[in-house]
């Protein structure tokens, strides 16, 4: 079957790093990622099913891997060669439960699922499960590299599972969520990134009426904004967006104030009535926003985050940060909390109820018509263009770029 496969090839990886510095996404042309004919993955165990991706998104973490900008932190929890793609809506090829009947299923859109890609204890056949998995917080699984599966924090980073950038992969039944009939494929492929956003919004510690800043208006930033608006009682929400199309989308998703990157300190100062250090040119605020969600994860964005969070406030790092050079004096002096937000699991809402993040994400996707954020789709054969498009999505007026596997000829041969 056709798949985009990422091999362990240090020389190519080095080339990807160089290319990625010259042009975002250029690592796809020279790096270890290749379109190959591969054997379909075997089922790792009895509770595993075969699925055929229909749409698979290109995530910022994928781009980091391809361009060699990801941290080496991930190396022990990834197994090579792997097929990327963890934002997946797929056809079931094996029955998930009795409603699917028995025997192999046709990949015709009748039995669709969304993949929850984290590989926790259940997928790894570890029993008893760790405390996090038992509580439904798969993102905090402490058995991430162990059990009866090769290392891999998620499907799409594990050599045994395959990934969404292919015509076939495998998934543990615990990873699969059915797609309702009235949900399009474009909506379904947005569920996984939306789940990340919902988790981040609910982890941000937003109290009613709080001024909240969302730094970054790429896919993650826009989804975080939507999640903040739906699932918290935030007051003023200020979004930092670099590009015009992003600004328009941010306003439509409920931002009260949308500003360019260089304007955030002033915008937060105006909204909060804070005083500022600096003779007109603001170094930092003495007050600021209660909560900042950094959906960029760079040194400048973290610097901005610290400058605009009020003493005692919280910065939630949603964007995947790498090795970062940062002056943490402000963090210490202003008693800021810097908290990571990764993946999803089970959330506690403001009314005290517990819900699965994926369920909340599905509701949000439908309520806010987040399918409209799928800006472009590509066949696997045009993967270089797809990745280049995804890497420069903001500047090209795009949000989410996906691979469209529905038209791959060999799907009918599965």
């Amino acid at each position: 079957m056709k798949a985009l496969r990422f091999d362990r090839k240090p020389a190519r990886y080095a080339a990807a790093i160089v290319a990625g510095k010259l042009a975002p996404g250029a690592g796809a042309g020279v790096g270890p990622l290749r379109l190959a004919d591969v054997d379909p993955p075997e089922l790792p165990g009895p509770d595993w099913l075969r699925i055929a991706p229909r749409l698979a998104g290109i995530c910022g973490s994928d781009l980091g891997t391809i361009d060699g900008t990801s941290s080496r932190y991930f190396e022990p929890i990834v197994s090579f060669p792997f097929v990327p793609g963890h934002e997946v809506v797929a056809d079931l090829l094996d029955p998930l439960d009795a409603t699917d009947g028995s025997g192999p299923l046709a990949p015709d859109g009748t039995h669709r699922v969304v993949l929850e890609p984290v590989l926790g204890c259940a997928a790894r056949s570890i029993s008893p499960t760790c405390a996090a998995c038992a509580a439904g917080d798969l993102g905090r699984c402490t058995n991430i590299s162990f059990g009866h599966l090769s290392p891999g924090l998620q499907s799409g980073f594990c050599c045994e599972t395959g990934g969404g950038w292919s015509t076939g992969m495998v998934a543990h039944r615990s990873q699969l969520h059915r797609v309702p009939d009235d949900m399009t494929d474009e909506a379904a492929v947005m569920v996984e990134p939306t789940a990340c956003a919902v988790h981040a919004a609910l982890a941000a510690g937003i109290a009613p009426g709080d001024t909240v800043v969302v730094l970054g208006a790429g896919t993650l930033g826009l989804l975080v904004l939507a999640a903040v608006r739906r699932y918290t009682q935030a007051g003023t929400v200020i979004v930092v967006a670099k590009h015009d199309a992003q600004r328009t989308l941010a306003r439509s998703l409920g931002a009260d104030v949308v500003v360019a990157p260089g304007e955030i300190r002033r915008a937060v100062r105006r909204s909060t009535g804070s005083m500022a250090i600096g003779d007109g040119d603001i170094t930092r605020l003495t007050g600021g926003a209660a909560c900042v969600l950094d959906c960029v994860g760079s040194a400048p964005s973290l610097d901005d985050s610290m400058a605009v969070t009020r003493p005692g406030g919280q910065i939630t790092l949603v964007g995947m940060a790498g090795v970062t050079n940062l002056d943490l004096t402000g963090l210490w002096h202003r008693e800021l909390r810097l908290v990571g937000a990764y993946a999803y699991g089970t959330e506690t809402l403001v009314d005290g109820t517990s819900r699965r993040t994926f369920d909340l994400a599905s509701e949000l996707v439908m309520a806010d018509d987040l399918a409209r954020l799928v800006s472009a789709t590509y066949p696997l054969s045009r993967y270089r263009e797809a990745i280049a498009h995804a890497a420069s999505a903001g500047g090209r007026g795009a949000v989410k770029v996906c691979f469209d596997l529905r038209t791959e000829k060999e799907r009918t041969r599965l």
Binding site: V257, V259, E263, R266, A267, R269, R270, G273, S274, M275, A276, G278, D279, G280, D281
Partner: protein, 531 residues
């Protein structure tokens, strides 16, 4: 004998016309047979002995006022207030007029044994003057005699302990001014009247006041009813200030007003810059070479260096009149002298008005002309330099030439940055932004802090700049900026054009394909007397 201003009808032999373009110049060809250029008068001869003239004015006051010497008594509290950094434009060569006047006043005060003297820069809600700016205005001798002891300082419109509410006008306008000035036995005001908007009761009622007072006339309704604010008798801004002046008079605040006028000799009548003031058909070959060399030189240096070069220019304009005494009597004579230099008779209106905007306005001396100030300079000052009616018809088009960079001085204009980023991104309608945002900016503690302790214009000031253009905004059908940075121009609510010809094309759906055009030639400034 300096030649008066006049209107030139453009024909095919008319050479390209010089337009100011920020820190640079453009030569533009205007369409023949339907364009006219209003040329300013040549500079009037300055007073040969300005110090002598000042002394004469102090000894021979106008109106109901005794000579200054007779009013100065030992033991009295004397306050001398003077116009701030916004005048003159560009800053003049030393000695500044204020220095000459203040020295003459202080000589008389010393002779009379007055030792309680304060000198205050009457800046209202403008930014504080720096030491070097104060030194330039009042001279080193005065600065060193008074500043170290704290007797020479900037007016602070946000100091509740140094403001005094004098009363209210019959229209309910609160009059509040600097307390030291109000409680002095004599307040001497030293004015420079660059344009006919300046001076009179505006000196004290505006220059020494606070936001509480200013908001009665620095508002959209007043500015829309000032047609124009260069013509005191048709200006609601001035009617309000004059009402406030009545309150000051009747409350017993004793004012000895000293007003001066200047000629328009901005770049000199000889020397390398004089070509900029010359009528283009009179340029010699040497003038052309000088102009070309200047253009090439400017193109080669960085924008920062260009700005520095222009801002460091000290103009040779000089005093043409000085009168002192009672405010109203003095101001009548002053205004006549301003008109003597500036007024150019013009018949009728045209479809389009063009103008080149320079690098300097009253609010960016030693600073940056940010986009808000571009609007104020064009739609505020230059548009309002008329008496009678604007040279462009109602619903016509204004075409201005300026690079309009999205650039702000963060120390001088912090509230402008927020005004541009926040307010104008929501609305450019002056009534809406006045209603929705003015109070927030006027009462912002950080802006207040910067106004009082740094060198920042008051938080509310960008609003006033916008209101200054509100009469023009009501009058015009469209505003186009040639050569401006596109996103800045659009944020202002105007249309960007790359060239003047493109601008004419863009104007055609408002004024047709063969519009008539008036060009306001500048440098230097003039005032169109339109009948």
């Amino acid at each position: 004998m300096p030649r008066p201003g006049f209107v030139l009808d453009v024909d095919r032999s008319t050479p390209p016309v010089l337009f100011h373009h920020g820190e640079g110049f453009r030569l533009e060809k205007l369409p023949a047979d339907r364009s006219r250029i209003i040329y300013p008068a040549e500079p009037i001869e300055p007073i040969a002995d300005p110090v002598g003239a000042i002394r004469h004015a102090l000894a021979n006051p106008l109106g109901d006022a005794a000579p200054l010497a007779a009013q100065l008594l030992a033991g009295m509290k004397l306050t001398i207030c003077f116009d701030d950094i916004s005048l003159p434009l560009p800053p003049m060569k030393r000695p500044d007029i204020r220095q000459m006047v203040i020295e003459a006043v202080l000589d008389l005060a010393a002779a009379a044994g007055v030792d309680d003297v304060h000198l205050i820069a009457a800046l209202a809600l403008h930014r504080r003057m720096t030491e070097s700016e104060l030194r330039h205005a009042v001279g080193d001798r005065v600065y060193e005699a008074f500043a170290p002891s704290g007797a020479l300082y900037n007016h602070d419109a946000e100091d509740p302990d140094n403001l005094l509410e004098i009363g209210t006008t019959k229209h309910g306008e609160v009059v509040e001014i600097n307390k030291r000035a109000a409680e002095s036995d004599l307040l001497v005001y030293v004015n420079i009247n660059l344009v006919s908007m300046d001076g009179g009761w505006k000196s004290t009622a505006t220059g020494l006041s606070s936001y509480k007072s200013l908001k009665h006339h620095h508002n959209v309704k007043t500015m829309q009813a000032s047609t124009s604010f260069m013509d005191r008798h048709k200006s609601e801004l001035h009617h309000s200030n004059w009402r406030m002046g009545e309150v000051l008079k009747s409350s017993g605040v004793k004012i000895f007003q000293i007003e001066t006028t200047m000629n328009n000799n901005v770049f000199g009548t000889d020397g390398p810059m004089s070509v900029l003031q010359k009528r283009e058909w009179e340029w010699t070959a040497r003038d052309r070479m000088t102009f070309l060399a200047m253009q090439k030189g400017l193109d080669r240096i960085s924008p920062r260096m260009r700005r520095q070069a222009f801002q460091s220019w000290k103009a040779p304009h000089a005093m043409t009149s000085v009168q002192a005494g009672e405010v109203d009597a003095v101001h009548e004579v002053t205004t006549a002298n301003v008109f003597r230099q500036h007024l150019v008779p013009v018949e009728g209106q045209t479809d389009i008005l063009t103008m080149g905007l320079p690098y300097i306005s009253p609010y960016n001396v030693n600073s940056i002309l940010n986009p808000v100030l571009v609007m104020c300079l064009g739609l505020g000052y230059f548009f309002n330099l008329y008496r009678g009616k604007p040279p462009v018809r109602e619903g016509g088009v204004l075409i201005m030439s300026h690079p309009t960079p999205w650039e702000f001085h963060p120390v001088h204009h912090p509230s402008y940055i927020d005004f541009f980023e926040q307010v104008l991104s929501e609305t450019t309608d002056p009534l809406v932004l006045e209603e929705k945002f003015e109070k927030q900016f006027a009462e912002d503690e950080w802006y207040r802090h910067l106004y009082r302790t740094s060198y920042a214009y008051h938080g509310v000031h960008p609003f006033y700049m916008w209101y200054w253009g509100s009469h023009a905004m009501q009058h015009l059908g469209r505003v186009i900026i040639v050569g401006g940075e596109e996103r800045s121009v659009r944020r202002l609510g105007f249309q960007p054009a790359s060239t003047l010809q493109d601008a004419f094309e863009m104007a055609s759906d408002v004024v047709g394909r063969e519009p008539t055009i008036t060009h306001l030639h500048n440098p230097p400034i003039l005032m169109a007397d339109v009948t």
